[in-house]
C-alpha cells in the first residue's frame, strides 16, 4: 500500500483524509521511501493493537455498568415492593402513605 509504479520506478505516497476525501501526499522513492513505509506500517500495527485494547476496555466497562444497572433494577424493585406492601403508593413519582394504612 502507498507504493505506485510510474515508468518502471516505484514511488511512495502517503494517503490521508482531508475534508472527507482521500488525498495522496508524495513522500519519495528509494531508501527514504522504504524507511518511511516501514515506519507507517509499524504505526498502523500499533494503532490496531491500541484500538483492540480500547475496544476490550470499553466492553469490560459496559459489562460492569450493565451488571450494576441490573442489580440497581432489582434493588429498586425490592425497595418499591417493600414500600408498596407497607401501605405506600406512588404519586407523581413520590411515595405517599395510602389513606387509612398503619405502618
Amino acid at each position: 500500500m502507498g507504493w505506485e509504479d510510474r515508468d518502471g520506478r516505484r514511488y511512495y505516497y502517503r494517503k490521508k483524509r482531508v475534508g472527507g476525501r482521500v488525498v495522496s501526499e508524495y513522500v519519495g522513492a528509494g531508501l527514504l521511501a522504504e524507511l518511511s513505509a516501514q515506519s507507517a506500517e509499524q504505526d498502523q500495527r500499533r494503532a490496531k493493537i491500541e484500538r483492540r485494547k480500547w475496544r476490550k476496555t470499553v466492553e469490560a466497562e459496559v459489562a460492569i455498568d450493565r451488571l450494576m444497572s441490573d442489580a440497581g433494577r432489582l434493588v429498586k424493585a425490592l425497595t418499591d415492593a417493600t414500600l408498596a406492601i407497607n401501605g405506600y403508593h406512588r404519586h407523581k413519582g413520590q411515595w405517599r402513605k395510602r389513606k387509612g394504612t398503619k405502618t
Partner: protein, 210 residues
C-alpha cells in the same frame, strides 16, 4: 469481600424472574391496588426465590469486576486492600451491621456506586493527563458523570427509605445445600449480603457518608 472465592456469580436467567416480580410490583404501585396483587407481591417478596440474595450477589459481582478492571501494577494487593478498607469504612459509617435488610441492600448499592466512582475518577485522571485520544477522554468524562449520578441516586434512595422508618420484614432465605431458614430481617441480610467486620458500631449513625 473476604469471601469472594465462595460466591456464586449472578445468573442472567434470574433476570426473567426479576421482570415477573417487577410486573406484579407495577400493578401494586397505584393508589388502590387489588388485594390479590398485594398478596402476590408480599408472597414474592418473602419467597425463598431469594431476590434479596440475588441482588446481593449481583452487587458483589459488580464490585469484583470493577476491582479487576484496574491495572494496579506491582501494588495490586495494597491497592485492593486500601479500596476494600474504604468500602468497609462506608459500611460502618452507614451502620450496615445494625440496619434492616432493605437498608443493608441499599448500603451495599452505595458502596458499589462509590467503588465505581472511585475507579472512574482514577481512570479519568490517568487518561486525561496521558496520551489518550479525545474520543477516549470523552468516554471517561461521560463514564465519570454517570457514576457520580449513580452514587448520588444510591445515597438519596437510602436516605429516603430511612426517613420512612419501615417496619422490619421477615424473609425466607434458602442457603444452597442447607435447610431453608425463616429469619427476621437483620439475620436474613447477613446471609444475603457481604460480611462486615465485628467492629461495626451498634448504634445507628444516620445517613452520614464521606
Amino acid at each position: 469481600m473476604n469471601d469472594q472465592a465462595n460466591l456464586t456469580p449472578a445468573k442472567p436467567a434470574k433476570l426473567d424472574e426479576i421482570d415477573a416480580f417487577i410486573a406484579v410490583l407495577r400493578r401494586v404501585e397505584c393508589e388502590k391496588p387489588k388485594p390479590e396483587d398485594v398478596r402476590e407481591l408480599r408472597r414474592l417478596l418473602k419467597s425463598n426465590e431469594t431476590n434479596w440474595q440475588l441482588a446481593g450477589d449481583m452487587m458483589q459481582q459488580a464490585q469484583r469486576n470493577a476491582l479487576n478492571s484496574i491495572n494496579f501494577g506491582k501494588s495490586k494487593t495494597l491497592a485492593i486492600e486500601s479500596i476494600e478498607e474504604g468500602m468497609q469504612h462506608i459500611r460502618r459509617q452507614l451502620s450496615y451491621a445494625t440496619s434492616p435488610m432493605l437498608e443493608k441492600l441499599l448500603i451495599e448499592q452505595v458502596v458499589t456506586a462509590w467503588l465505581r466512582l472511585s475507579i472512574c475518577e482514577v481512570k479519568y485522571s490517568h487518561n486525561v493527563s496521558g496520551e489518550s485520544s479525545i474520543q477516549q477522554a470523552d468516554y471517561w468524562d461521560r463514564a465519570l458523570s454517570a457514576s457520580q449520578r449513580r452514587y448520588l441516586r444510591a445515597i438519596e434512595t437510602l436516605a429516603r427509605v430511612r426517613r420512612l422508618k419501615l417496619p422490619a420484614l421477615q424473609v425466607n432465605v434458602a442457603q444452597s445445600g442447607a435447610k431453608q431458614l425463616n429469619v427476621a430481617s437483620s439475620a436474613a441480610s447477613s446471609a444475603a449480603l457481604p460480611a462486615v467486620p465485628n467492629d461495626a458500631p451498634n448504634a445507628k449513625g444516620g445517613d452520614a457518608i464521606e
